[in-house]
């Protein structure tokens, strides 16, 4: 009998600490599959960020450096410049990348660093207990926006992918989701495309993945998954916003 579904080699055979219904595990899997398919596992240096995904090295069987909160793109820049033959990716949450790390992501992108960024947007600070993030939707209640996010006081949810796509240094930028089999397949395709850019030395590539945080949204796994497909996809439009190779 042929085995049709197996664990990617780039992932270790361990149980994750993620909450039930959390998409981090799914996204880990997509990234690992893409590493496998390009045969990159042995030359990859991953950069973990501070958030629920900090334990990247517990799950991926690759070399990893753990960056301070928000600084993963700068750390990845140092890694790639010192070891240009390695494959370097960061894996960052929305608090990490779109709040404290705004300067680092914009400038790494603008320099066109030859790295890939996986950006996991769950509209909240998962690890610290569900506070408001720059990506929190208007009206969304979080532990620090108990009345719902108001644009007059807290501004608007940031569309990071569109913002980065406007920079000349960016080679590839896409927003994806893993809420449905169709979207999941597409997310995998975009992650592979992003990796392809780096493999070919074509510059900075970026994939945003919309993601559920059932725990901090106060929802069950099914409802949280539905929210990603409805509310989130409505504001954060899926698509490829920059693909320089196809120009």
């Amino acid at each position: 009998m042929q085995q049709v579904f197996k664990k990617p080699a780039a992932l270790k055979d361990v149980q994750t600490h993620f909450c039930p219904g959390c998409h981090h595990g799914t996204i880990h899997r997509l990234v690992a599959e893409a590493l496998d398919e390009f045969g990159l596992q042995e030359k990859t240096i991953g950069v973990a960020s501070v958030g629920c995904s900090v334990f990247l090295y517990h799950y991926f069987d690759i070399d990893v450096v753990e960056a301070p909160h928000g600084r993963a793109p700068a750390v990845a820049t140092g890694v790639k410049r010192a070891k240009p033959e390695s494959f370097v990716f960061t894996y960052q949450g929305d608090g990490d990348l779109a709040a404290i790390g705004t300067a680092e992501i914009i400038h790494a992108a603008n320099r066109g660093e030859d790295i890939t960024v996986i950006f996991v947007n769950n509209t909240t600070y998962g690890m610290t207990g569900g506070q408001m993030a720059p990506t929190t939707l208007l009206g969304q209640k979080t532990s620090t926006s108990p009345y719902g996010r108001r644009s007059e006081k807290e501004g608007f949810p940031i569309r990071v992918t569109e913002m980065l796509a406007g920079l000349d240094g960016v080679a590839f930028a896409a927003r994806t989701s893993v809420d449905s089999p169709k979207n999941l397949m597409d997310a995998k395709r975009q992650i592979k495309k992003a990796f392809q850019y780096q493999v070919e030395g074509k510059g900075f590539s970026f994939v945003e993945v919309l993601s559920a945080c059932p725990t901090n949204w106060g929802m069950n796994a099914v409802a949280a998954n539905e929210r990603v497909g409805s509310e989130m996809c409505e504001y954060f439009k899926l698509g490829v916003f920059k693909d320089t190779a196809s120009l």
Partner: protein, 337 residues
């Protein structure tokens, strides 16, 4: 120049006076050496780039001054925890806040007492001449690699912008421990992880004891200092960096007058040359510490001297026009002799 001779090929920085000569020099030199120079978007980004390069085992450095060093402290704490070697040069300015750009020694506490969080040390070296700046920069990279620790060179605009003769030389050959921790992509081998998060039962305590043992070893083996005319001295003048240069002139003037005065100049501020102070003050009972601040290193001097030695302090927190003259220091020497 010392950094390049030491094999450093990765420089990341952000402009701030009075250290702009360093990034400007590096931006000229690195391309020709197959190295990398990045003018980062901030001091925070610069030190984190250093972290990334250092994690691959490369010799990397950054430089800055007061406000910029404050921004780097989070990452310096990380690197101390991750046990990553690197060099940070602080050509300090006067403070607090935006302060001024004159020579100052207001950053002693920040450098020596672990300005960042969590209770760590880095090696801190305070050169007092251009030659020493060059030699100690090479030494700094070696210490960083041997002990797997960030090292800071603490200077100021007097030492930083001085024009003095320099004799360049090759780096002495040193044996270094294998970098079996450096990231390279597994290449089919064991996974390597460079991190500072330790959540397992007892893991972080064990890590802290390991760091502590390293600091003790540094204390035993790597303290450096200069002694000048100390053998028959009845008063020991001390100070570091540019303050020690002015103090040395004052000591020379005192000797010309036949006064029995000597100089003990710590070259490493961490590890502090406790040994030197303890042995000198077992015999000579008076110490005069001179600093360009209101009293920082003096705390370590007090902890290091023998029990019944007196420690006096003379300081000028600097700003424009506040550098003490040798004559002014000679006055102080006479006062306490």
């Amino acid at each position: 120049m010392g950094a390049i001779e030491a094999g450093c090929r990765y420089y990341f920085g952000y402009p701030i006076t009075p250290q702009n000569d360093i990034p400007e020099f590096m931006s000229r030199e690195m391309p020709g050496l197959n190295g990398e120079f990045i003018q980062a978007e901030s001091e925070i980004a610069a030190i984190n780039m250093v972290m990334g390069a250092a994690a691959t085992g490369a010799r990397a450095m950054t430089s800055s001054s007061g406000p910029g060093i404050s921004l780097k402290l989070e990452a310096i704490s990380y690197m101390a925890g991750m046990e990553l070697p690197c060099l940070i040069v602080n050509i300090s300015r006067s403070g607090p806040g935006l302060g001024g750009i004159d020579a100052s020694q207001g950053d002693y506490f920040q450098a020596v007492k672990g300005g960042g969080h969590g209770g760590y040390h880095m090696v801190v070296i305070a050169p007092a001449s251009i030659q020493e700046m060059y030699d100690m920069t090479m030494h700094a990279f070696d210490l960083a690699e041997i002990y797997r620790t960030p090292v800071m060179i603490l200077g100021d605009s007097v030492v930083g912008q001085m024009k003095e003769p320099l004799i360049p030389h090759r780096r002495p050959k040193t044996e270094f421990p294998a970098k079996d921790w450096a990231l390279r992509g597994t290449g089919g081998g064991e996974q390597r992880v460079v991190k500072s998060l330790f959540l397992g039962d007892g893991e972080l305590e064990a890590h802290n004891w390991k760091l502590h043992a390293k600091y003790q070893q540094l204390q035993e083996k790597e303290a450096r200092w200069e002694e000048y005319e100390t053998s028959d001295a009845t008063l020991i003048v001390t100070g570091f960096g540019s303050a020690a240069r002015i103090a040395k002139s004052a000591v020379m003037m005192a000797r010309e007058e036949g006064l029995k005065v000597g100089l003990l100049r710590p070259i490493t501020l961490f590890p502090f040359p406790v040994q030197a102070f303890a042995s000198l003050t077992a015999r000579c009972k008076k110490v005069l510490d001179i600093e360009l601040n209101t009293g920082q290193m003096v705390e370590d001097v007090r902890l290091s001297v023998a029990r019944d030695a007196e420690v006096h302090f003379y300081g000028r927190p600097s700003g424009t026009g506040s550098l003490p003259t040798p004559e002014e220091l000679l006055e102080q020497i006479r006062r306490y002799l």
